[in-house]
Symmetry: C2
Subunit: 197 residues, 2 copies
């Protein structure tokens, strides 16, 4: 099976897919696709998937699959990254849906504005910053003293949520007030084999 | 098993859970919980789940599960609402994650601003309106002439995406330009046993 992954290496959503594939020792071709250079809006890319978003997985038979969290759930099916217990699996998806509606829109967006669009941290919308801090605080509390977000082992919830949390500081969202989060980031990086940011 | 569902009947995210539970003929207690009246921010509710959001499912043993799409995936496990084929299941999750990051933040928010907060449709942020229309257009194209979003039968993707699409007009997002979408709404309402909006 030769998988193709179209991704932008500066995007946490894309890195989730790379990390998951590497953890599972899957063989794949990575096709670097720049969002900033608008390569995802080019006709040749839109023909692959009309949403025009990375990451995009292409199966060996050509079928495309978008949405980072759907891709990692597909790749990891049957592996230890998805809890066997039904309720723990549901909790994993709870964190992954929460990431898309309550974490990524603030934590990832603040970082993109600063790092890609060149906005000064002091010029960020205070509401965006407040919501980003709120998401980090909620995640910090959600760990509740445990090593990983769900059960007692690494799962897709950790890989999903570490992607933008570990680089939150690049968007002015300081992790210093959250020691439990910083410990979790180091633990997940080690368990998942993720290199330095 | 006695399930409890805390939900606000004006919220599409909450109605997804009610529709799924009813379709599956599950027995449950519905605890009406008003977002507008800030009941989700009261201490008694925050003790159930620190995210302070509805819908919230409480299992018979007291364990809580938040996030509408995680809840319906949990409730529907093993049923016909989740495709047996791995790729179709992945597609279903693709649509559900897309709903949370690219549809709900515009289509549901426009409706909430108009219906709950009393904002005039003409006063809505043009960017919000444009993104809402873009999401409807993308969904319309995504149907690609098929009866349902994934495979050839009703799935959680349909129940998830119909929730705010069927009432998009309440937020000024007219469905008239999207005949395929309107046909799909009628078909999903009939298949899922959903009453008039």
């Amino acid at each position: 099976m030769t998988l193709r992954i179209h991704g932008d290496s500066t995007s946490g959503n894309c890195l989730k897919v790379r990390w998951t594939a590497d953890y599972l020792k899957l063989s794949y071709d990575w096709i670097e696709t720049s969002v900033a250079a608008r390569q995802t809006r080019e006709a040749v890319f839109l023909k692959l998937h009309p949403a025009g978003q990375v990451p995009l997985l292409i199966l060996d038979d050509g079928r495309p699959l978008a949405q980072s969290n759907a891709i990692i759930a597909y790749l990891a099916e049957g592996s230890s990254l998805i809890p066997a217990d039904a309720f723990e699996r549901a909790r994993m998806f709870e964190w992954m849906f929460w990431e898309q509606n309550s974490h990524e829109p603030y934590v990832a967006v603040a970082r993109r504005l600063v790092r890609i669009d060149g906005v000064a941290i002091s010029a960020l919308d205070p509401i965006l910053v407040e919501r980003g801090r709120g998401a980090l605080s909620r995640l910090d509390a959600g760990l509740g003293g445990r090593d990983f977000l769900v059960g007692s082992a690494l799962s897709l919830a950790d890989i999903c949520l570490i992607a933008y949390t570990r680089v939150a500081g690049e968007g002015g969202l300081d992790l210093a007030p959250f020691p439990a989060l910083r410990g979790w980031i180091a633990r997940v990086e080690a368990a998942a084999g993720i290199g330095a940011a």
